[in-house]
Symmetry: C2
Subunit: 318 residues, 2 copies
């Protein structure tokens, strides 16, 4: 079917669901998601864009991991991390579904279907990240507790910036979206899919089967793979800053509106961008443009609709 | 598109995921789901059936509620019940997805896509169940604790068969499947959908919007609505007994292979079937046949493939 609308994968940052300093109550999260849904809804209601939504899950899966830990006191066995990730996709997908529907109903389009797809993202079992886990997850422990858990459960633990001990897990590179066929079909049928939440549930292939692994995939890099999988025109990564800066917070700080793929790769090499934050966004943008995408945008959530029209944010261009 | 295969909604009972007496570890659940997936896989691999899977979530959402309760000690705000239901859909859907894919890969069909859809089920805000909550959920409390929580959170609590105090929530009747369009589209595209888990996330309509409510919808009755929504030929409810009995456990116990809708309605009226267990199954079967379904089957999980071929289980017939 020929595409009549511009197909956009929107990757929502943490601030789309929870603000810094908030406790993470349902009411707080729902209010943030409602605001986020207004931006998404505006794009959809314009009739110009076909939107696929993906999102982070850091604080939510963190809370679920803590709850799993605490639940053991009641004799409830803790679930592995990949399962907690699947739970967080249900949690966040449901919130986005509800709020986006609200906005679409208010905009006179109750007929536009929305669906959250529980998404597995395939990583390579030979990814070097598995030899070098770096991503802190779950509760803080005392050194003693942490080392005990490391021994008991085979975890790798580190002293996390002096704030306490934490488990670290690998952050492998996404290779493919397991549910891409289903997501594509939903798009063709004019459903708004919510997919690959939290970077997807990380799985490795083993004799053609998919096996969950305890790891965290960066949600922007997974979003880029999702954009490839659905043949998107635009990859838009929304966060709490409206663009990309070099020498960020240093003398010579410069905010960029347009960056060529060449320059972006050089800046990446120079280590200009914060690891786990702006760095994967720029990397995802570069990958998308090199794959053949039309536009890769990094912008603030509040300027999403301006950014898609080219009036805000930063673009990585060929 | 004309249907070339028989379309079957399979409603999996609790035993498909967790056996009585098990603690609920991930390994236990995955082993059960793997066995369940073999039955589902056999049907799909036969090439004769297009399958939609739905499932219960009692023990899983119970565990999530307990974890939410326990997590408050770490300062993690507890999520409302509808959100916990959404989490359980992610959890269980992911397990089924993984195991079913394994079976399909082993059967030489890695190409058949599977997708879990986070599903909201619409109930009426005027459902009499909201005035008379009967379904116990979550942790057991002491009388004192329970009454304190009832006061603080507006819960209704009861003494649950002398085992302790528990919260009770309404169990309203399902009216419609909010994501039916997406689920239908997946089926048309030959995707195996996993949907309406745990009876769906209960929502009420308010000015065309959907608002989550703290309630539990019976998964067989929700499965029946799902069967209507996807225009299914067969509704198959799988449990741990292979059929329907009258005078169950009493003198004159009789196991039935075929029951007419008329007789089934009479038995329902007589209170022949266990509330919350066989009763909603028979009720769902009656509804499905009255709606225009071709076959409504109640069978044991282990005889699923025999039952679909008419060699096991019980059928409610016109």
């Amino acid at each position: 079917m020929p595409k009549t609308k511009t197909r956009v994968v929107v990757a929502l940052g943490g601030n789309a669901i929870l603000q810094k300093g908030q406790k993470g109550t349902y009411e707080e999260q729902l209010a943030n998601v409602r605001r986020t849904a207004e931006h998404m809804g505006k794009m959809i209601l314009s009739g110009k864009y076909q939107v696929v939504i993906t999102h982070g899950n850091g604080p939510q899966v963190g809370a679920i991991l803590l709850q799993n830990d605490a639940g053991q006191r009641y004799g409830i066995p803790a679930m592995p991390m990949d399962v907690c990730g699947a739970e967080s996709q249900g949690l966040i997908g449901y919130m986005i579904q509800q709020c986006l529907r609200e906005v679409l109903v208010e905009g006179g389009r109750p007929d536009i279907p929305i669906a959250t797809v529980v998404t597995q993202v395939i990583v390579s079992k030979d990814d070097p990240a598995f030899k070098n886990p770096t991503k802190p997850v779950g509760p803080f422990y005392s050194e003693e507790e942490a080392k005990k858990l490391a021994k008991e459960r085979g975890w790798i633990v580190i002293d996390d910036a002096g704030r306490g001990w934490r488990r670290v897990v690998p952050s492998p590179d996404p290779k493919d979206i397991a549910e891409k066929e289903a997501i594509r079909q939903l798009l063709e049928a004019h459903v708004v899919p919510i997919a690959s939440g939290g970077g997807g549930i990380p799985v490795i292939e083993k004799d053609g089967k998919l096996v969950g692994v305890e790891a965290v995939i960066d949600k922007d890099l997974a979003g880029e793979k999702l954009a490839e999988a659905v043949d998107a025109d635009v990859l838009m990564m929304l966060t709490d800053v409206d663009g990309v800066a070099i020498n960020y917070g240093k003398p010579g700080e410069r905010w960029l509106r347009r960056v060529t793929v060449e320059d972006a790769k050089r800046y990446l090499q120079e280590g200009q961008f914060a690891v786990g934050s702006m760095e994967p966004k720029v990397r995802a943008a570069v990958r998308f443009m090199e794959w053949g995408g039309k536009r890769a945008i990094i912008a603030s959530l509040d300027h999403a609709t301006d950014a898609i029209e080219g009036r805000a944010g930063a673009e990585i261009v060929r």
